[in-house]
């Protein structure tokens, strides 16, 4: 009887796996070329606001206080 129970749980695990795979297989996908174009577009649209990418004027960054600087 124990054997039966183990096989039943194996079966239910497999059923779960099959259902999961069916779900994943039914997903609507787009082409990589389209996905890539949209990622690129998002980068481009937001580049100007990205302080780490383009930098911002010294005064507007709170981590940078005015300090003395030396030119050698």
């Amino acid at each position: 009887k124990k054997e039966n129970m183990t096989s039943n749980s194996n079966v239910s695990n497999m059923r779960r796996l099959v259902e999961q795979l069916k779900l994943e297989a039914s997903l609507e996908r787009i082409k990589v070329s389209q996905a890539a174009a949209e990622l690129q577009q998002y980068c481009h649209q937001n580049a100007a606001k990205d302080a780490l990418l383009v930098g911002v004027p010294a005064g507007s960054n709170p981590f940078r206080e005015p300090r003395s600087c030396n030119l050698f």
Binding site: R15, Q20, L27, R29, V32, L39, A47, K49, A51
Partner: protein, 407 residues
Amino acid sequence: MRFSINPEMATQEVQPNETLTNLKAESDTLKTKLEDERAKLHDVELHQVAEKVDGLGQFIMKTRRTLKGHGNKVLCMDWCKDKRRIVSSSQDGKVIVWDAFTTNKEHAVTMPCTWVMACAYAPSGCAVACGGLDNKCSVYPLSLDKNENLAAKKKSVAMHTNYLSACSFTNSDMQILTSSGDGTCALWDVESGQLLQSFHGHAADVLCLDLAPSETGNTFVSGGCDKKANVWDMRSGQCIQSFETHESDINSVRYYPSGDAFASGSDDATCRLYDLRADREVAIYSKESIIFGASSVDFSLSGRLLFGGYNDYTINVWDVLKGTRVSILFGHENRVSTLRLSPDGTAFCSGSWDHTLRVRDRGYHLEPVTSATVCLILVSSSSCLSLMPVPSPFYFIRTASFITFGP
């Protein structure tokens, strides 16, 4: 995991061995079908599409603050929405709340366990959550009274059967999402401690999670020791997408700012980008010279840059579109364990096993003077020019040109 019941299968006579064989065959067929479907749409590589995009050129980042005070390895950190406070947690059981502008410690809590692997700031800024080897996630309301013992008001929210690896508040202070060494993720109600949803599907420890940006709906991504990154529906508990291309544990996952993709960092020494709508990996960020695992990743605001903290003590900065490295940042004296962009994207903070946290931002080539900056130029006898901001009716135009060195 809940699945809609297929009436046909429910009424079948159960003959275990036969059904098992059939199901195995069916799952193999489905796996092949999945691979084929994904492959059909793989018409180009991301970096090919990005060939026409301008390169990023020289890239200097500077450490602006070093937060010292932890007595042992820093394991996790998170920013407050106010863009200045940081919470960090460490191997010695301490959780510290810092004012990153002044580097002052505002609060400190000693947890009853060591290895506090997870910490998070509440959206309101009024509480922090943390946990680790105690298998729990606890919430500490932050008191304005510095003398008050924070531990007294501690609320135990999440209970797992193994260590807590990551935690995050959802859009409010009311719910927390956790991931654990017990292989599950879970959503909890903070007030009652009630389990709202659990997420089963990883075959081993779950090491990290990230919530989708709020505009894109109720999903989150998790990464685990089973080398899988899973995307989950928070309401149903269903795993909606799964990606298995890494060759080792996934230590960190982070959504691309638009919510259409996510990046991962792994012990296989690579970071990867997965697009959710193409349902596949679209980029690998790696170099032959990088052989140590990536522990933590985050994007810059526009998604163009990917910061990766590695176990070789460095932070590599990647051009997300072109797949190339634009900078390598030194400074930490041990593994980088955690890394996060500040809420407004002006800086990022990294935490390390060297006991410190560092806040870095972009170094500048030219610093234009504003009308508020008043300078007095002193020329010393050793021909050094020294510029100091000094109150004066005289204005000087200062152009400081710094020679920048590429990585």
